[in-house]
């Protein structure tokens, strides 16, 4: 596949994605969430979970700037997607912040202090190439979709229809993003299957969610969220890893072969280095 064909395929994917987003997925966090259905009795730990999501979403400037740094020269479709992605993700943090303040769970001042604390950290891009970051996006957006759905169920359990709606809107965007990333990875697989498989194995092995180490008290927050419907390793495998691989048409066996080859290459390099000493 030539680079022109690559760009053409991605442009087509983006047109489909963006048209669908405009037709079916536009929403307004100030107007479309039923704010009158906030349950004032929703327990504090549910608010802590919402605050944690807000923390992760708040690093949007880093995600955009550092993500675009590797994507901007790859294709116009990926640049356009990034711009639209940023707009859609922005609404997630707006909706979460609106919930926390409208519900009275947090004051404007507390939100300001939280944002200040968050911005003392910055997100580090976990991978260095457009292809790896696209693969990362497939797993990460799918994982976020699954987590938001679980928290939608939790909010419903507590009779908080407003918070449930926030999670539902956010989840709907996340799954659309995940599918776009997956479609792009499929194109990468068409162009260079062996190289893309190596990248999938690398990203999967080193995958972690974006809030790790940058959201204050992240470990304690995650313990709470895990108890209350977050991701554990089985859910990750069942709802994220296997479905993404299946959609991409990649088997576990292919990734095992990649791992075996990588180990053999490492050993050969090490043997060579030892012999040279």
């Amino acid at each position: 596949m030539s680079s022109d064909q690559f760009r053409e395929k991605l442009n087509k994917q983006f047109r489909i994605f963006f048209d669908k987003a405009e037709q079916e997925r536009r929403w307004n966090p100030y107007r479309d969430v039923p704010w009158d259905k906030i349950n004032p009795e929703t327990p504090e730990y549910v608010a802590v979970c919402a605050e944690t999501f807000l923390g992760v979403e708040s690093f949007l400037p880093d995600y955009i700037s550092k993500g675009l740094a590797v994507l901007r020269n790859s294709s116009s479709a990926q640049r356009s997607f990034s711009a639209n992605w940023g707009y859609e993700e922005l609404k997630h943090s707006i909706a979460l912040m609106e919930y926390l303040t409208r519900s009275g769970k947090r004051s404007d001042e507390q939100m300001h202090d939280y944002q200040q604390a968050l911005m003392k950290q910055s997100w580090t891009r976990p991978f260095d190439t457009a292809r790896q970051m696209t693969i990362y996006g497939s797993f990460q957006e799918m994982a976020t979709f699954v987590i938001y759905l679980r928290h939608e169920a939790l909010a419903k359990k507590h009779g908080d229809e407003a918070l449930a709606a926030v999670y539902r809107f956010n989840a709907r965007d996340e799954i659309a993003h995940a599918h776009f990333y997956e479609d792009v990875v499929k194109v990468y697989l068409e162009i260079d299957r062996p190289g893309t498989l190596v990248d999938i194995a690398h990203v999967a092995k080193n995958f972690q969610m974006p809030g790790v180490n940058i959201v204050p008290d992240y470990d304690q927050r995650i313990v709470l969220m895990r108890e209350e419907g977050n991701m554990d390793r089985d859910i990750f495998l069942q709802k994220v890893y296997f479905p993404v691989l299946k959609y991409l048409g990649v088997t576990r066996q292919e990734l095992v072969q990649v791992a075996i080859d990588a180990r053999a290459a490492r050993k050969a390099t090490q043997t060579g280095a030892n012999a040279a000493e």
């Binding site: 995958f207 390793r233 990750f236 495998l237 990734l255 791992a259 075996i260």
Partner: protein, 82 residues
């Protein structure tokens, strides 16, 4: 294949993947406690599948925590294959 042979295969494969000595590992061991994360476990399972010429459906790998659970699964598949 005998159970004792299966655990030997497990120990050898795990040692190759994690580049650590797993000869002490027993069936009671918890896989995560060995320093093998969920994706490492998939690599381990994949290597055992190749070695033993079996195939384990993805959905059956969910919920595997201990070496015993994994060997039960592998044993069941080897029995079905032979």
């Amino acid at each position: 294949m005998k159970r004792s042979e299966l655990i030997t295969v497990f120990q050898r494969m795990a040692s190759e993947i994690a580049e650590k000595d797993f000869s002490h590992v027993s069936e009671e061991s918890v896989i995560a406690d060995l320093g093998i994360d969920s994706l490492g476990m998939l690599e381990l399972v994949g290597s055992m599948e190749r070695e033993l010429k079996i195939q384990i459906p993805d959905e059956q790998l969910v919920g595997i925590q201990s070496v015993r659970q994994l060997l039960d699964l592998v044993e069941k598949r080897t029995t079905q294959t032979t």
